[in-house]
């Protein structure tokens, strides 16, 4: 079995302490692979909830996969497992929010953002309910589980909804920062997560502000604007290109809605912008950046993501390579764009 296959098998393997939520669960907490932190979702929310009685956490029979069971272990009275009924979960979260609670409801992105899109719009976003929908295992991180489990359209679908803040967590520390900042955020939120084994970008919990991008690397020849899993790949690609004499700026544009237009405009000064995302090339981060660029003088620009097709099945690492979303692939695409820049 390859390492990647092992990762797949761990998607449904959770940690439980105290009351056991799952049979045959095997603890992997405390033994994350180097550079691949385990999911901190439940743990961080439990920390926040220690001092904030408004916090409530829900999931749809995926407490082990997204580690909301860590929250259950510490705050069982404020944990609700809605079972496999995502629409009910998200609308009920809106009902809880109307009573002053701050619900965080988590399931796979394909079954929150896509399956329950109307509930997110009509029951959470429009009436300004402080619901935080967490879509984990987004993009093609579920690999060989297939199209039903991939979420490559969620950013496009939710970005066009008014009054909904859409952000992507880059890694575990970034997720901690987003969760802490989300508590007092006045709008409904969609927080896109990877599969909880995301490569480290932030060694510590970063200072963040929704709507403000994070410039991670300076550069003068090209700017890569990335989000989620592609931030690490872009940083490493930039390092690779630096050795070839190309100076690449890298921006973590984690805030998809509202996007940091000022940072996009600043990126234009490098003369070329490449957007990189684990999402359909249509409608996501690249489109959001393109909308800002329409107001600017023409520069070399390319959206890089998953082509507008349903993707192959396979282990995630193989898929990233196949779709040129690994380090080598991003570097290659960046060079193609540089060639166009001339």
């Amino acid at each position: 079995m390859t390492t990647d296959m092992q990762d797949e098998s761990e998607i449904f393997r959770g940690t439980t302490t105290g009351k056991t939520l799952l049979r045959n669960s095997r603890s992997v907490r405390g033994t994350p692979k180097a550079g691949m932190p385990a999911f901190v979702l439940g743990e961080e929310l439990a920390d926040i909830a220690d001092s904030d009685p408004r916090i409530v956490v829900g999931t749809a029979d995926l407490a082990s996969a997204n580690r909301t069971n860590d929250f259950h272990d510490r705050h069982p009275d404020r944990f609700v497992n809605f079972s496999i009924a995502e629409r009910n979960m998200i609308t009920a979260a809106a009902g809880m929010a109307s009573c002053g609670m701050i619900p965080y409801v988590a399931t796979f992105a394909s079954f929150s953002a896509i399956l329950a899109a109307e509930q997110i719009r009509t029951d959470c976003a429009y009436p300004n309910m402080k619901v935080r929908v967490l879509g984990s295992h987004s993009g093609m991180s579920m690999g060989f589980y297939g199209t039903s489990h991939h979420a490559l359209e969620d950013l496009a679908m939710l970005r066009c909804m008014a009054e909904l803040t859409v952000v992507c967590a880059t890694d575990a520390n970034h997720l901690r920062a987003i969760l802490r900042a989300s508590v007092e955020h006045p709008k409904a939120m969609y927080i896109r997560l990877g599969r909880g084994r995301d490569p480290v970008v932030y060694d510590d919990v970063p200072e963040i502000e929704f709507g403000r991008a994070i410039r991670l690397r300076e550069g003068t020849d090209l700017t890569i604007i990335a989000c989620g899993s592609q931030v690490r790949a872009s940083l490493d690609a930039a390092e690779k290109l630096a050795k070839e004499g190309v100076s690449v700026r890298v921006v973590d544009m984690f805030s998809i809605d509202t996007i940091d237009a000022a940072e996009v405009k600043a990126a234009a000064e490098t003369g070329a912008i490449l957007t990189v995302e684990e999402h359909n090339v249509t409608g996501g981060l690249g489109s959001a950046v393109a909308e800002v660029l329409l107001d600017l003088p023409r520069i070399a620009f390319r959206k890089h993501g998953v082509p507008d097709r349903y993707v192959e099945v396979g282990p995630p690492a193989a898929l990233y390579a196949h779709y040129r979303l690994d380090v080598a692939g991003v570097a290659e695409v960046a060079k193609e764009l540089m060639a166009r820049k001339g």
Partner: protein, 289 residues
Amino acid sequence: MNRPASNMGLPALEDRAKFIRKETVRLSRIAGAGHYSSTFSCAELLATLYYDQMRIEPGNPDWPARDRFVMSKGHAAIGLYPVMADLGYFDPSELDTYTRLGSKFGDHPDMKKVRGLDFSSGSLGHGLSVGVGMALAGRMQGLDFRTYVMLGDGELSEGQIWEAVNSAGHFGLRNLVAIVDRNGLSIDGHTEEVMSIEPLEERFAAFGWEVQRIDGHDLQAIRDAFDALERADRGKPQVIIADTVKGRGVARMEMSLDWHVGNLVGEDYDDVMAELDAGLKPYEPEAVE
């Protein structure tokens, strides 16, 4: 549980049900169209809830311990707004803007705009999930408020309703009360022809609910059903299936498919207002050939 005692006379409630119907007719004329028959079917239920049963303080609409009401069949909002105005949530004169550009009052209720509205609705099938969330929140907060959700019978075809029914039973939401306005018609015809939903009592009971079935136009029966909520098994969510007549109160509208949305003008308007003033006549279904 500290709940107000029923203290309104049945004649007064009958008068308030009449008021709901007449306001529905009046506001529909402002809009040029209205959901007459779906509102008429729940007029007695709505009147009993707001004037007799719910623990509310219109002067303090954000009171955390207030009972909650979710009009899941949001197209009956036209009957809800006048009640809320009458109770003092806002100035009744504001109703004259009904559906005009920029009005607070659209065909479906909007909690961002209408003071005292506990939740918005419109897309059918969501309301009971909202109620589940409210009931869960009440339990977590240690508050003893009750959440009432008015469901249409047509919307019981929505799958999300049954997700909510299932979860309320599982969670043992004793503070949740669903009321099914069982008027028998959805837009395209009789519910049992479009999509059968019976046997309703057995369906809810099978999901772990306490069930009552009543005549939804009989004020005494409605009050008795609400009184019985206190006595029932307190570990279960409760549903009152109210058999009603769509369009009840206006002969031409009763069980007619033509008045789900309609518009009364001219002499017809005056005739219907006069008919409503005279009060409910016995319902006489047309003989089935």
